[in-house]
C-alpha cells in the first residue's frame, strides 16, 4: 500500500511482550502430519525448562489424545526451530538451545501417519 495512515512515530502497547508472561515465554509446538491436532499448540514455558521435560511430560500429556503417539520414537524425530534444522539435547534447557519468546518448534515423526 502506498500510504501508511499512522501518524509518524506512532507506537502502541505491545501486548505480548515477554515481561507479561510471569517468567515464562511462549513457545509454539507442532507435530507434523497429525492434523487431528488442528493447529500448533501454544505453551508458556520458562526458558530453563529442560528440553527432555518438554517432550516427556508436556508433549506426552497433550499428544496422547492421538493413539499414534504411543508408538512414536522421538529420538528419531526430525526437528526444526524457527525454520532451521535443529538437533535438541534433552538434558539442556530450551533457552540454551535457542528457543526464544514466540519460537516455533516443528517435528516430524516416522512413520508418517496419513490419518
Amino acid at each position: 500500500m502506498a500510504v501508511i495512515s499512522l501518524n509518524p512515530g506512532y507506537t502502541g502497547p505491545v501486548r505480548d511482550r515477554i515481561e507479561n508472561f510471569h517468567g515464562a515465554q511462549l513457545v509454539y509446538v507442532h507435530w507434523e502430519g497429525h492434523l487431528n491436532f488442528c493447529a500448533a499448540i501454544t505453551l508458556p514455558l520458562p526458558a530453563d525448562t529442560p528440553f527432555g521435560a518438554l517432550t516427556a511430560e508436556i508433549l506426552s500429556s497433550l499428544y496422547q489424545a492421538d493413539p499414534a503417539w504411543a508408538s512414536v520414537d522421538l529420538s528419531a524425530a526430525r526437528w526444526t526451530l524457527d525454520g532451521q534444522d535443529w538437533a535438541p539435547d534433552a538434558a539442556r534447557s530450551i533457552g540454551e538451545q535457542g528457543v526464544g519468546h514466540k519460537s516455533l518448534i516443528r517435528f516430524w515423526t516416522a512413520p508418517v501417519c496419513n490419518a
Partner: protein, 508 residues
C-alpha cells in the same frame, strides 16, 4: 397564498446539502480532523452522487412499515411455538454463531457510521452514513428481538455481548471490526461498505438467511427480508463511495487498492467461519461453501473488478489463493471447533455417513482424501468413549486471530506458517495475506488481544479451563461440548417424541 409543496428533489436538497455551510470562524481541518491523514484527496465534495435520494421523513416511514411486519411475525412465532418448526436442534448453532458473532458487529457498524456521519466533510455522504447508522442499530435490535425467542429454549445465546468480547473464536469477528473502526474514515468505508457489504455480502447473508429458510427458521428469514432493502442501499453506498474516491484523484487509486487487498483478505478469512457453518451446521444444506464462493465471488466479483479496471483497480491480491483453497478451509475450521468444543458456546458432533456422502459429493477433489479419514478416526475414538479433544491451546494468527489451521495452498497436509519480526519480537500469521497486513502496519497489529496469549498472561479468570469458561460466561455442560449428550439434545428429543402420534392405530 397556500405554501407550495416542494418537489422530491428540492426537499432532498434541503434535507441534505442544505444542511452544510462553509465555516467562517473555525478552520475546516479542525472541524474534520480525520479527513486528510489517510492521504485521500477530495477536490469536489459536490460531485458526490447520492445513490438513493432518500429523505429522513421517507426513511422513517419505510422503516416503520418493515418493523410492523417483522414484529407481527415474531409475535406469531412466539405464540405458536415456532422453535418446533426447525429441521433439527443442530440448526440452532447457526443462529448462535449469528447472534454471538454478527449481531455485535451490527452495533459496531451503527456506532462507526454515526462517527462518519459527523466526520466526513461532504454533506451528501454524511447523510448516507447517518441513515446507515440508524439501519445498523435497527438490525442489531431486531436480531436481538428475533433471536430472544430461541434464547428461552436453547443454550449459548444468553450472554452474547459478553461472549463477543471474550471468547477465542469471537475475537475473529471482533478484531475484524476493531481493525476497521480504528482506521480512518475512508479506509472504514472501503473496508465495510465496499469490501464487506458490496463484494462479500452475499457470502454472509445467503448462508444465514437461506440457511434459515431451508431449515424452518421463519423468524430469521423474516429478519432477513426486513434488512434486505437496507443492505442493498448499503451495497450501493459502498460501490459509489469507492468510485467517488477513485474519480476524485489518481493518487487515491493505489491507496484504495491497498485497502481492497487488505479487506478482501480479512473478510475472506472471517467468512471461513460462516462457510464452516454452511457446510457443517445446517441440517438441510443450501449449497456448499465452494459453490457459494464460485457464484458470489468468482463470477460476481470477477465482473465487478473487470468494471473497476478502468480506474486502474485490479482484482484483490490473493483472490487466487482463496480460489485454490475453497475445497479446504471449511473442513479445517470445523476441525478447530471439533478440537475445542469444550471451550465453545456452540455444539459440534461426529459427522454421520449421510453428511460424509454430501461432503464427498460437494468436494470430490479434497474431502475423501484429506478430511474423511480424520473424521472417521474421531468417530471411532468417540464410539470407544474416548472422544478426541485437543488439550493444548492453539497458536493464533496475529491478524485474523483464527487458530493457525490453514494449510499451504499446494500442500493440504502442511500448515502454512508465516512469521515477521518487529522491534525484536516475532509475529506469526496464517497466510501471505495476513502477513502482508501485519507487515504494512506492525505497530497496529502488535497490539492484538489474542485470546490464548491473554489466558497465559492471567487476564481471563484463571489458569484452568473451568475458570476461563466461567470468565467467558459459558454455562458448562450446556453451552459447550458435543450436541450428542447435551441438554439441548435431550430437550429436542422430548419435544419430538411428544409430537409423534401416540394413539395406537385401531386394528382393523
Amino acid at each position: 397564498m397556500a405554501a407550495r409543496k416542494l418537489s422530491l428533489k428540492q426537499k432532498y436538497g434541503h434535507f441534505t446539502r442544505g444542511l452544510d455551510w462553509e465555516p467562517s470562524y473555525q478552520k475546516k481541518e479542525d472541524i474534520y480532523p480525520f479527513a486528510e491523514y489517510e492521504g485521500i484527496k477530495i477536490h469536489d465534495w459536490g460531485a458526490w452522487e447520492d445513490p438513493f435520494k432518500l429523505t429522513m421523513d421517507a426513511y422513517w416511514k419505510f422503516q416503520a412499515e418493515k418493523e410492523r411486519k417483522l414484529y407481527a411475525v415474531i409475535d406469531s412465532m412466539a405464540q405458536n411455538n415456532g422453535q418446533l418448526g426447525i429441521t433439527d436442534a443442530r440448526y440452532l448453532n447457526a443462529v448462535k454463531i449469528f447472534i454471538q458473532g454478527v449481531t455485535p458487529l451490527e452495533y459496531q457498524a451503527h456506532r462507526h457510521f454515526a462517527h462518519l456521519a459527523r466526520h466526513l466533510p461532504g454533506a451528501g455522504l454524511r447523510v448516507a452514513a447517518q441513515m446507515q447508522s440508524i439501519d445498523e442499530l435497527r438490525h442489531c435490535q431486531t436480531q436481538i428481538h428475533t433471536i430472544s425467542h430461541y434464547n428461552k429454549f436453547f443454550d449459548g445465546i444468553h450472554d452474547f455481548t459478553h461472549m463477543h468480547d471474550r471468547l477465542w473464536y469471537l475475537s475473529v469477528p471482533k478484531s475484524f471490526f476493531d481493525d476497521a473502526t480504528s482506521a480512518g474514515p475512508f479506509e472504514f468505508l472501503t473496508a465495510i461498505s465496499f469490501a464487506f457489504e458490496y463484494v462479500l455480502t452475499n457470502l454472509l447473508f445467503v448462508p444465514f438467511m437461506s440457511g434459515a429458510a431451508y431449515n424452518g427458521d421463519m423468524a430469521t428469514v423474516t429478519f432477513g427480508f426486513s434488512a434486505q432493502s437496507d443492505e442493498s442501499r448499503h451495497m450501493t453506498l459502498g460501490l459509489e463511495a469507492v468510485r467517488f474516491l477513485l474519480e476524485q484523484d489518481e493518487a487515491n487509486v493505489p491507496i484504495v487498492q491497498g485497502w481492497i487487498d487488505k479487506w478482501f483478505w480479512r473478510g475472506y478469512r472471517l467468512l471461513s467461519l460462516v462457510g464452516m457453518m454452511m457446510d457443517y451446521m445446517l441440517p438441510k444444506k443450501v449449497m456448499s461453501w465452494s459453490e457459494a464462493w464460485e457464484s458470489y465471488y468468482e463470477e460476481a466479483g470477477g465482473a465487478l473488478f473487470a468494471d473497476l479496471a478502468r480506474y486502474g483497480i485490479r482484482e484483490p491480491k490473493y483472490a487466487d489463493v482463496a480460489k485454490a483453497e475453497k475445497g479446504h478451509i471449511t473442513h479445517q475450521v470445523w476441525s478447530i471447533f471439533y478440537n475445542y468444543a469444550q471451550a465453545a458456546a456452540v455444539h459440534t458432533w461426529d459427522v454421520d455417513d449421510q453428511h460424509l456422502a454430501w461432503l464427498r459429493e460437494k468436494y470430490p477433489e479434497t474431502f475423501e482424501k484429506h478430511y474423511q479419514p480424520r473424521y472417521l478416526a474421531w468417530r471411532e475414538q468417540a464410539e470407544k468413549g474416548e472422544r478426541f479433544y485437543n488439550n493444548g491451546l492453539p497458536m493464533l494468527c496475529q491478524v485474523c486471530q483464527i487458530p493457525m489451521a490453514f494449510t499451504e495452498v499446494d500442500d493440504p497436509e502442511t500448515i502454512c506458517f508465516r512469521v515477521s519480526e518487529h522491534e525484536g519480537d516475532k509475529y506469526h500469521t496464517c497466510s501471505d495475506g495476513c502477513k502482508d497486513i501485519f507487515d504494512h502496519e506492525p505497530e497496529k497489529f502488535a497490539q492484538a488481544w489474542l485470546p490464548v496469549h491473554q489466558i497465559f498472561q492471567g487476564n481471563c479468570g484463571g489458569a484452568t479451563l473451568p475458570e476461563v469458561l466461567d470468565w467467558y460466561h459459558i454455562n458448562q455442560g450446556a453451552d459447550n461440548l458435543d450436541y450428542v449428550g447435551s441438554p439441548e439434545e435431550a430437550q429436542w428429543d422430548r419435544w419430538m417424541e411428544g409430537r409423534r402420534p401416540t394413539m395406537p392405530i385401531a386394528a382393523e
